[in-house]
C-alpha cells in the first residue's frame, strides 16, 4: 500500500487479556517505530526497529510489552495481561533507510486500544 497500515483500527478487550497490534510499513522503509499516545498527551516512544533488530527498546514501559519484526517488514506489538492504563492509541511509523534525522517518519492511523 501507499502508506503505513495498522490493524485493527480499534480494539476493545477485557483487563488481563493479551492483545496483538500489527503494523505494515511503507515498502522500502527499513526503520520502524512504535509510539503510544494517551488522550490529550504527546507521543511516547516505545521501540525502534532497524530491519529485524531492535537497537532501541528503551521506551517499553514494562515486560508485558514486546515487539517483533520479521522479514524486515511487518511488525507486531504484543501486550500481555493488559491493564486499564494500557488504554491509548498505538501509532506506528516508518522511514527510509539512513541515520536518524535524515528522513522523516510517516505514520499509520493507529490502533485505538481500550481496556475494560
Amino acid at each position: 500500500g501507499a502508506g503505513v497500515s495498522q490493524s485493527p483500527s480499534n480494539k476493545v478487550t477485557e483487563k488481563g487479556k493479551d492483545v496483538e497490534l500489527r503494523c505494515d510499513p511503507i515498502s522500502g522503509h527499513t526503520a520502524l517505530y512504535w509510539y503510544r499516545q494517551s488522550l490529550g498527551q504527546g507521543l511516547e516512544f516505545l521501540i525502534y526497529f532497524q530491519g529485524n533488530s531492535a537497537p532501541d527498546k528503551s521506551g517499553l514501559p514494562s515486560d508485558r510489552f514486546s515487539a517483533e519484526r520479521t522479514g524486515g517488514s511487518v511488525s507486531t506489538l504484543t501486550i500481555q495481561r493488559t491493564q486499564q492504563e494500557d488504554s491509548a492509541v498505538y501509532l506506528c511509523a516508518s522511514r527510509l533507510p539512513g541515520p536518524q534525522g535524515g528522513q522523516p517518519q510517516h505514520f499509520g492511523d493507529g490502533t485505538r486500544l481500550s481496556i475494560l
Partner: protein, 108 residues
C-alpha cells in the same frame, strides 16, 4: 536531559488570522527538526529542517530554524478552519524527541 518545548500549549484564533507556533529545544548532537500536523488520527509530516535561516514553505505554511538560539517557528497565514489540529515538533539526534504539541483551534 534532552527536551523539546512547544508554546503555546493551545491557541484559539479566527479564520484569516496569522499564527506563529514555537518550538525550542535542548538536544545534544542535533541532526534535524521536524514539524507534524495531527488531526484525528496519524501525524502527517509537514517540514524537516536541518540548516539555520533557510525558510521552508508549503502553501500558507512556512517554517524556519535558528540553530544558534535553538528554536524553530511554524507560521500559518490566512488560517482556515481546516488548519485546526495539534501541531507537533520533534528533534532528532540518535532518536526522536517529541514536544507535547500546540493545539490550534480556528474559529469561523
Amino acid at each position: 536531559e534532552d527536551k523539546v518545548v512547544q508554546s503555546p500549549l493551545s491557541l484559539v484564533v479566527h479564520e484569516g488570522d496569522t499564527v506563529t507556533l514555537n518550538c525550542s529545544y535542548e538536544v545534544t548532537n542535533f541532526r534535524s527538526l521536524l514539524w507534524y500536523k495531527q488531526e484525528k488520527k496519524a501525524p502527517t509530516f509537514l517540514f524537516m529542517l536541518t540548516s539555520s535561516g533557510i525558510e521552508k514553505k508549503s502553501g500558507r505554511l512556512s517554517s524556519i530554524l535558528d540553530k544558534k538560539e535553538l528554536f524553530s517557528i511554524l507560521n500559518i497565514t490566512a488560517t482556515q478552519t481546516g488548519d485546526s489540529a495539534v501541531y507537533l515538533c520533534a528533534v532528532t539526534n540518535y532518536q526522536l524527541i517529541w514536544g507535547a504539541g500546540t493545539k490550534l483551534i480556528i474559529k469561523p
